[in-house]
């Protein structure tokens, strides 16, 4: 029987999933901005800027929501992550600041395109590195006494964590390419991004294999989730092949969602292994209850508004 704390942990994971699917694709757009090439180079960049412009701030709030819910409902987990992963998280913040501001500066004639693209590359890797460190069970509830390197570098400076970082980047770039096939109006531009999606899809697969191979312990993966993820991946590839872009978008989103939830299921009931289970890290019951009420009330406002935003900006050229 899942507890109230489990429910809130699931909401946090859902918020993180939304961030990956929406905000992640905005980062992925930056990757394709950096790699724009061929005769339609500037059209590609314009399309990306156009697609990200109205939505990136809203997409970005999912990360903030996940953070806020984490420190409200699981304060010990937030504190131990913030201590052990201070370095990559601070670097990630610098990346977030540079990405966001360079993006608007560029749109308002201030230059900064390069900064936007490079920050889009580095930030997802650091996010993935941090997630990787948590998944590997390298974040202790109380920081180990010892030299700086042991306490603040070792937890995340591992091949596994970096593999997860690059995996995250590949997923974001893949999502962006798939979504952009739907944003593009001209068939050539659509083909450009179809091609990019079909290249980055296998890259996602290759990185998944590497991540599992590097997992410090025997990977605690759930066979059924892996099978479903593989099925979704094949589905994406098939629909891209057949140019069924709407289907491809749905399948890609399902594929990445399953990856995130696969991680969550694999480490359940741990929130921050090896010390903190969801139950141990949870705030007092009253806080959990009130937060759940606030989230449900917030959702009533949020989802219709989000739907409206997407309908205004994303509905016009879906056929």
């Amino acid at each position: 029987m899942p507890s109230l704390a489990d429910a809130l942990a699931a909401i946090i994971l859902a918020s993180l999933t939304a961030y990956v699917l929406l905000g992640g694709a905005d980062f992925g757009g930056g990757v394709w901005d950096l790699l724009a090439s061929g005769p339609r180079k500037s059209c590609q960049r314009d399309l990306i800027a156009h697609a990200i412009g109205p939505v990136w701030e809203a997409n970005h709030v999912w990360l903030i929501l996940a953070m806020v819910l984490l420190f409200t409902c699981f304060p010990r987990a937030f504190a131990s992550i913030a201590i052990a992963l201070h370095v990559p998280l601070t670097l990630m913040l610098v990346g977030i600041v540079l990405r966001g501001s360079a993006f608007v500066f560029q749109n308002y004639g201030g230059g900064g395109g390069r900064v936007f693209a490079i920050a889009s590359l580095v930030t997802p890797v650091l996010l993935g590195v941090s997630v990787g460190a948590v998944a590997a069970g390298a974040v202790p509830a109380r920081v180990r006494d010892g030299p700086f390197v042991v306490s603040y570098i070792d937890p995340w400076f591992t091949p596994f964590a970096f593999a997860v970082g690059i995996f995250a980047l590949a997923c974001f770039a893949f999502l962006a390419a798939v979504y952009l096939t739907l944003e593009a109006r001209e068939p050539e531009l659509q083909e450009d991004f179809r091609q990019r999606a079909m290249i980055s899809g296998p890259a996602v697969f290759a990185m998944a294999v590497i991540v599992l191979a590097l997992f410090p312990q025997a990977p605690p993966v759930n066979q059924r989730v892996v099978a479903l993820t593989a099925a979704a991946a094949l589905g994406t590839f098939w629909s891209l092949w057949r140019r069924r872009y709407q289907l491809a978008r749905a399948a890609a989103a399902i594929q990445v969602t399953l990856i995130v939830w696969g991680w969550g299921i694999a480490q359940y009931p741990y929130l921050v292994p090896p010390d903190l289970t969801i139950a141990r890290a949870a705030a007092p019951r009253i806080t959990l209850e009130l937060t759940l009420i606030a989230v449900l009330a917030g959702a009533v406002v949020l989802f219709p508004s989000l739907y409206y935003l997407m309908r205004v900006f994303k509905g016009t050229n879906d056929h």
């Binding site: 420190f71 304060p75 504190a79 600041v97 608007v104 606030a294």
Partner: protein
């Protein structure tokens, strides 16, 4: 520099930077909506032009506000993990609500900025109104969290940890109302007079620009009433501080000894007898607690808090007078644009609201030291165990300096390009 000092400085830089963009994010939507509404009513194209130009500038400022705010929500944990561990379950509530206010704000901002041609005029105006409302709401929610740090309520303290917590009671903390009121007014006063002041300056150079006139009027409409009300809100805040945080009040006023009929000391040398007792308790004979009531290691940095308070009050008085002047001219139906002396006074007032705002936060935050949660948790006990905090402090400071320069350059280009006809 010690690690605690580096952490405090990093927090101070991050907040002082963010607050500028936050207050603009709270107030600019109101100005844009007023301009757009006037356009819809009068069909005078100047107002549409104004709303669109303001929207362009605001997009830049909003983005910087959003990223610097993200930095803050991580920094609360990165720098003060012990604070968040203890306080998260209690003050997470306003932060969670704020999260949803951010969503509403960001969503309708997207509609407002990019949707001029995509939604109906009414829906567009409504989106602007929603941005303005949710901006004010997000400001109020964070300030409630800060108020709780000043007057913590809603828990029982046993052996350094909380029990019987009550997040709803914590949101009703006594400092919440005065701080939220004073802060919200500060946002409208600083931004409104900032805009009016910039256009006053441009009018001094070119008296006939209808564009600048329109902008100045709308800026005043928002800024002047708020500036006039601000000393009253400040007085309410001061009386709460006198009751709940007597040490802070003593530091604000540089009052070293507890005494009845306490005076106000301004700068070195000017003293107004009985004024402090009168202001803080509305009774010239009231006893005001001095710094001598607590041991020295619980004093904040008295000269700095005192100076910041004086700066805020002097600037606040000045902009309130400018606001009254504007009200007088409006009441007599005089044309602002032809009054050179008024335009100069207004141009000088442009930065004053922002400076008062920063000074006010220095009072609140420095005056709370050495506590992060007043009377409960010392700042030095809340800091992260990670050494070398001077490195992130330096990095964030340099990053924000660079961002500040770019933003100012982009915006001044926008302003210089504004139509002078």
């Amino acid at each position: 520099m010690s690690d605690v000092l580096a952490a405090r400085s990093q927090m101070a830089v991050s907040l002082a930077f963010h607050i500028i963009f936050a207050v603009i994010g709270i107030a600019m939507p109101v100005l844009m909506v007023l301009a757009e509404r006037r356009w819809q009513r009068t069909r005078d194209p100047i107002y549409l032009d104004l709303a669109k130009r303001w929207a362009r500038g605001t997009a830049i400022l909003f983005a910087v506000g959003a990223v610097s705010g993200t930095v803050l929500s991580f920094e609360l944990g990165l720098l003060w993990p012990r604070f968040m561990e203890l306080a998260g379950p209690i003050i997470g509530m306003p932060f969670s609500l704020e999260g949803f206010a951010f969503f509403t704000e960001a969503i309708f901002l997207g509609v407002y900025l990019y949707g001029w041609e995509k939604v109906s005029p009414r829906a567009h105006l409504l989106a602007g109104v929603l941005v303005a409302l949710s901006g004010a709401a997000s400001g109020i929610f964070v300030v409630i969290a800060n108020a709780w740090m000043n007057t913590p309520t809603g828990f029982t303290l046993t052996n350094g940890s909380f029990s019987a917590i009550d997040p709803i009671a914590a949101m009703g903390t006594p400092a919440a109302f005065p701080q939220a009121l004073h802060m919200t007014l500060a946002a409208y006063a600083a931004t409104g007079l900032g805009v009016a002041g910039i256009h006053a300056f441009l009018l001094l150079k070119n008296r006939t620009s209808a564009f600048n006139r329109a902008a100045l009027t709308i800026g005043l409409l928002v800024g002047a009433p708020a500036a006039v009300l601000q000393p009253i809100a400040g007085d309410i805040a001061a009386r709460y501080v006198a009751r709940r945080q007597p040490v802070k009040l003593a530091a604000m006023e540089g009052l070293y000894e507890t005494r009845a009929g306490a005076p106000i000391t301004i700068g070195p040398g000017i003293r107004i007898p009985y004024a402090l007792s009168l202001l803080a308790f509305h009774d010239p004979r009231a006893v005001v607690q001095g710094l001598d009531a607590v041991p020295r290691n619980e004093w904040p940095n008295v000269p700095l808090v005192h100076l910041s308070f004086d700066v805020m009050v002097v600037l606040g008085t000045y902009i309130a007078l400018v606001g009254l002047w504007a009200g007088w001219l409006a009441w007599r139906k005089r044309d602002f644009a032809t009054r050179r002396r008024f335009l100069w006074a207004l141009a000088i007032a442009a930065p004053c609201g922002f400076l008062a705002l920063e000074a006010g936060w220095m009072v609140t935050e420095l005056g709370r030291q050495p506590w992060v949660i007043f009377g409960v948790l010392k700042t030095a006990d809340a800091v992260t165990p990670m050494p070398g905090l001077i490195v992130p402090f330096t990095a964030i400071t340099l990053l924000y300096c660079a961002l500040g320069v770019i933003v100012v350059r982009l915006l001044s280009r926008q302003i210089v390009r504004s139509p002078q006809a």
